[in-house]
């Protein structure tokens, strides 16, 4: 029986020790992006925009040119970079506070202009880097450092659904929500990210992939429980589905 190599460390990933916590979803998504960069052969033309948040050091993992944006401004920074380098692949990587709180305007307007970028949105319902404060996507009743009695929508509003919000706009080409709480969903996420990047290579326009992810450290649970919480609490409120493909609303 001849041996066939079916797995290797992605070439587009740096061989470094992770700074992410055990059970965090960022590492999974970084690796998917690196695998896709390898598969599409785009490592030499990929420009990664890192946001403020836990993934500010994304450029320490992805072996591509990287730029760090101010908090919430990643879509605007991506816009400027892409308008200069129309032939490159710009990946705008963001977390929930970045994308839906401080950067809501940049998010909506980059999508509304149909910027030719790929936005990867990690939704883990909490601020990670600052130590577990309420995010715009924090669930009703969820306890965080700044909602010690649980998120009360009457006081601080309801969790915002990014895909549904962006799906009201005319310009976006592709909008899909995925999750990384089990292998099946990780595989679906990879397909979605690959499609979102291929869309950009093909000049189709703005692609948005939201990924429901885990933050065991700031949720105060173990990684297994965290994965279950995404499935049981987040997914019912944030349905995993494709909202738009090829510019057509679904």
């Amino acid at each position: 029986m001849s041996e066939e190599k079916i797995y290797s460390f992605p070439k587009s990933m740096r061989e470094v020790t992770t700074h992410y916590c055990a059970g965090c979803g960022h590492g999974i998504v970084h690796k998917l992006i690196a695998q896709i960069m390898d598969e599409l052969g785009i490592q030499e033309k990929t420009l990664v925009i890192a946001p403020v948040g836990c993934s500010v050091l994304a450029y320490n993992y992805l072996k591509a040119d990287g730029l760090e944006a101010a908090h919430g401004r990643a879509p605007a920074v991506s816009t400027g970079l892409k308008r200069v380098h129309k032939d490159k692949v710009v990946i705008c990587y963001q977390g929930d506070g970045d994308l839906l709180a401080i950067g809501t305007a940049e998010t909506v307007h980059a999508a509304n202009r149909g910027e030719h970028i790929t936005v990867i949105f990690i939704n883990n319902a909490i601020y990670g880097m600052t130590g577990g404060q309420m995010a715009p996507t924090t669930m009703e009743g969820q306890v965080t450092k700044t909602t010690p009695y649980g998120r009360d929508p009457k006081e601080v509003g309801w969790p915002i659904r990014a895909c549904e919000l962006l799906n009201t706009l005319e310009a976006p080409y592709y909008i899909e929500r995925c999750a990384v709480y089990d292998v099946k969903h990780i595989n679906q996420t990879k397909k979605a990210i690959k499609k979102a990047i291929q869309n950009q290579i093909d000049g189709k326009g703005y692609s948005f992939v939201e990924i429901l992810s885990m933050c065991p450290t700031n949720w105060g649970v173990d990684p297994t429980k965290a994965a279950e919480w995404v499935r049981d609490v987040m997914e019912p409120y944030y349905p995993v589905k494709c909202f738009r493909d090829g510019g057509e609303k679904k």
Binding site: A50, A64, L67, A70, R73, S78, G80, R83, K88, A105
Partner: protein
């Protein structure tokens, strides 16, 4: 193009930017600089460039940051309250050593203030403006010709030192029309081997202001920034003088205020009072040595500003040990009157 043409200050900035090789401009509307985005919206498509009206000043300056990281010559413009918002991006770009040209056509403040020309943003412009230890190279033109010439210079200096360069004008300068000779187009843009172009045949480039580890990483980075600033202070000071050779009294003013002072100086000279003008053009780097030298030869200095007195602090620090420094200014978009300046200088005699 050596022919004189009539042009509005704001439009002269726009055309000069294009002559400097700027093909990307991002901005958000605000009075009194709206002629710049309007001009760029019309002109940039004609030269294959990109004009984009951003959703906010925060977004505009971030787009500038992205384009600059990509290696492009890029500009944004605004006026006082809008420049306050852009400080976020200016600080980030300064930390990441990204060149850009930022135009501030100042208006009256604080807050929304009014839409008349003013000089109340001197502190903000010359002390960094945003968070952290850094400087922006600030040029204050005094007429429409200089708006054009120094806009080109701003792009060159920004690239040379990888620094944010600010054109600090005001609403009056931007709105006035004067004859000018358009500067020559910049032919060869400098290579930027640090830019983000895709890691082809090289290690990836990382452009960031974050310096977390080790403990002294940020400290060393700031020292490096200040080594660069030292070179700028040594080599890039610009100032102008008028009637200083035999002067007993020296007026210090920049931009629009200096124009008013020139008239006062003519009137005083006609009465036999020996007074001259020292006009800083780079506000950072401030002409420290030059103003100190000039101060040694006069009996008294009058600093005139369209503010409650901001540049006067730099005058005091650098020239105050050689002679008295007086101040005359008006805030709120009001112009200091020629007669008041004349009277004040006469009171020294």
């Amino acid at each position: 193009m050596s022919e004189k043409i009539l042009m509005k200050g704001n439009e002269a900035i726009g055309e000069a930017a294009i002559l400097a090789g700027c093909r990307h401009y991002f901005a958000y509307p605000i009075t009194p600089q709206n002629e710049i985005p309007a001009y760029m919206a019309k002109r940039l498509p004609e030269v294959g460039g990109t004009f984009l009206q951003a959703e906010s000043e925060l977004a505009a300056v971030s787009m500038v940051m992205g384009a600059s990281a990509g290696g492009a010559r890029v500009m944004t413009s605004s006026s006082s309250p809008g420049i306050s918002l852009k400080q976020e991006g200016i600080s980030y770009m300064s930390g990441a050593q990204l060149p850009a040209v930022i135009v501030n056509m100042m208006r009256g403040g604080p807050g929304l203030g009014n839409i008349a020309g003013a000089q109340g943003d001197y502190f903000q412009a010359t002390r960094g403006g945003g968070n952290g230890d850094y400087h922006v190279l600030v040029i204050a033109p005094g007429n429409v010709q200089e708006l054009a010439d120094y806009t080109i210079k701003a792009f060159d200096l920004a690239d040379k030192y990888r620094i944010v360069c600010m054109i600090l004008g005001d609403g009056y300068l931007g709105q006035m029309s004067e004859p000018l000779i358009l500067p020559k187009a910049v032919e060869n843009l400098p290579a930027k081997d640090w830019a983000l172009t895709g890691a082809k045949g090289r290690e990836p480039h990382i452009i960031a202001s974050l310096r977390l580890n080790p403990d002294n990483y940020l400290e060393k980075h700031v020292y490096d920034l200040y080594e660069n600033y030292k070179k700028i202070e040594e080599n890039e000071v610009i100032y102008d003088t008028q009637n200083l050779d035999d002067a007993d009294y020296m007026i210090v003013a920049y931009g629009t205020a200096s124009r008013i002072c020139k008239k006062a100086i003519r009137m005083l000279r006609a009465e036999g009072i020996k007074v001259g003008l020292f006009r800083p053009v780079t506000l950072w780097p401030f002409p420290k040595k030059e103003i100190a030298e000039a101060a040694k030869k006069v009996k008294k200095i009058l600093t005139v500003e369209m503010s409650m007195g901001q540049m006067v602090q730099d005058v005091q620090i650098n020239a105050g040990k050689f002679c008295d420094v007086d101040f005359l200014g008006r805030p709120g978009g009001m112009l200091p009157e020629v007669e008041k300046i004349v009277q004040r200088v006469k009171s020294y005699v």
